[in-house]
Symmetry: C4
Subunit: 210 residues, 4 copies
């Protein structure tokens, strides 16, 4: 049953493919031979959506890896939750493409960013469900993990599921600002992610939350 390594390798593959497929969202401008610079410049929403979503998937991958490197056993529920998580990750090129297509379109931009935020809410919820499942009994962790301390991080995890709904609301104030906030959140988490608590360090830390 110890097949955590294979599950992680498969998941890594999905992350790597999803992150690389993002580029397909950036189109080549048609019939722009006479004004290619300006045509390329007008595509800034595509570039912004690419950069922000690339960082987000990259940080998601780091978080996923941080948790899975402490998992020694895989049960059906974890396998299923992980599949649902990957379903959200692999889908991200689509909201990114919607944002790229409508970021300059007033009302539609707000809708696009709200949808984008909902994907992040979905990811946060599934990741939290996975964390609850893992910390409930702790029997899937390897022996280094301090299960008590890990369980104590659940509240901090719940915070993560508060931030992203806020970005959904923020979308209706300013779509470009909301996209920037998503980018900044990704950069923040890239440097501030907290490790899974281990017995050596009986710490108050969270577990690779996004």
């Amino acid at each position: 049953m110890n097949e955590s390594g294979r599950v992680e390798a498969f998941s890594d593959g999905v992350f790597a493919i999803a992150i690389t497929l993002l580029v397909l969202e950036i189109k080549v401008p048609h019939d722009a031979a006479t004004h290619l610079w300006s045509a390329l410049g007008a595509m800034w929403p595509s570039y912004a959506a690419y950069v922000v979503t690339f960082l987000i998937i990259g940080v998601m991958w780091v978080n996923h890896h941080t948790v899975f490197q402490r998992i020694a056993r895989v049960d059906r529920a974890l396998l299923f939750l992980n599949l649902v998580l990957l379903m959200g990750v692999a889908a991200l090129p689509w909201p990114a493409a919607v944002v790229a297509a409508y970021l300059r379109d007033g009302k539609a931009a707000q809708v696009a960013l709200a949808v984008y935020g909902l994907f992040m809410v979905f990811h946060a919820l599934v990741f939290q469900a996975m964390w609850w499942h893992l910390t409930r009994t702790g029997h899937l962790f390897d022996e280094r993990v301090d299960v008590e301390a890990a369980r104590a991080t659940r509240a901090r995890f719940a915070l993560g599921t508060v931030v992203y709904p806020v970005t959904v609301g923020l979308a209706f104030l300013s779509a470009p600002l909301t996209l920037a906030v998503h980018g900044l959140l990704a950069v923040y988490y890239a440097f501030n992610q907290v490790p899974v608590p281990t017995k050596a360090e009986p710490a108050p830390a969270g577990g690779g939350k996004l």
Copy 2:
């Protein structure tokens, strides 16, 4: 000849790529700036096809892995059967896209779901052929596998090849219902898949059937 690991890694790659390519089937609505919410809502067949097919490929991957982790040797026939199996898996983004395009189109939706079901029939047949080949002599399994018990699971396997033809017929009663059934079957198999019988557990179990 023991290259089961490499074959499995290659197969895992194909599964991971096929599952991630599914998102390309979900299009960005054009010229919908004035009504993006409703345009996105009208695309529900794309979302349904994505979710169901994602689960199906995910569960296929688990089943494939369950069998291959018990294989110690690879012969030409297994290599070829595996290639034919992967040919069906890698093709799945296409019937998913056909379903997404025609699920709201009465008669055409029935055709789309019938085609979708035929792909599942194909997969079941090839998987069964692989299982027959493996259990015929059993010399490709590692030594833990109880070959007698594994051979005894063939009948249960044949059941799998009965369910999917039924979904082809069901498509002509209700296309959306048929898609839902495919999704439910995937969830069912996610939790009820039976392991390859090993000598420690001389069990009546089937072998990673879909």
Copy 3:
């Protein structure tokens, strides 16, 4: 310098991605709600191109793996030849798509199949160059390989570079027949590929030729 494993893993990735991208060549018929069965039937060239090219890339992968599992060291020339080989493999979805688009178009079908055959010629030539480079000194092989015997297989390898030019000519007699021949050649090589000669078996065998 012994990084044969990483080069093979990278190459495996390219093979797996190219083989899975083939499905993008199979389009969803537009505006066919009233006649979806016939519209899908009319797309048989797409299915044929998919199946044949899938088998070809699959067999190429097996051949590539057969050779690389006997390689212990990688030099710059091998790295470069391998990159050129992968350049041809990764390009195959394109001639497959050209064949799919024009297989029913008389003269154009002949051109499409000729181009398809030229890709196979290219692959055969690069694979042969790699084999010559490997067998020239033999110092990149692991110690089990019988370098003398391996070198003796060069002539048989050259045969491979004769078959594919013939398919280019054959394209101008019958395009569909030529596609079928490509498929049959792939199936033939799937079962008749010869191993790299090792010292235990000082054999007259070829080295994983396509």
Copy 4:
């Protein structure tokens, strides 16, 4: 913290996918049944962009691997720099597609090649930043690396960031020539890349620069 292997595997995946996605830039000519040869011939910019970009990504992968095989530890900054590097690599199919679309269009071709060159400048800068970070303290390297010698290669690295801005300027003299120069640079680096200096060989060599 020693997760250099996983980071490299993830990066390898992104390189392999980006290099294989390049083929999607080569389109199938429409409505060319009566003149397929000439229609295919007119697409030479697509082929040129494919070949050159394939070689570039391939050589980038070799360089990336050369550096990472000497890294024993990964910190947040390296993880982030690597993510930014991959962001540029994964984006390359896009400038390649722009070049393919406009290489025959006078002024627009110049713009396309300038953009292409800017991507290479970006890559050179990020790679150099990564090299500075690695050689600053050297504590991420494994113990074989001669950190002093590695630091001394920084100047040679800076040279790399001079060559690519020149190609941006060259684009405005001749776009096709500039594309050819990019291809030649890739071939040059494929054979002339210098290893990370190790203590056994206390050498004046550079570190896997592009």
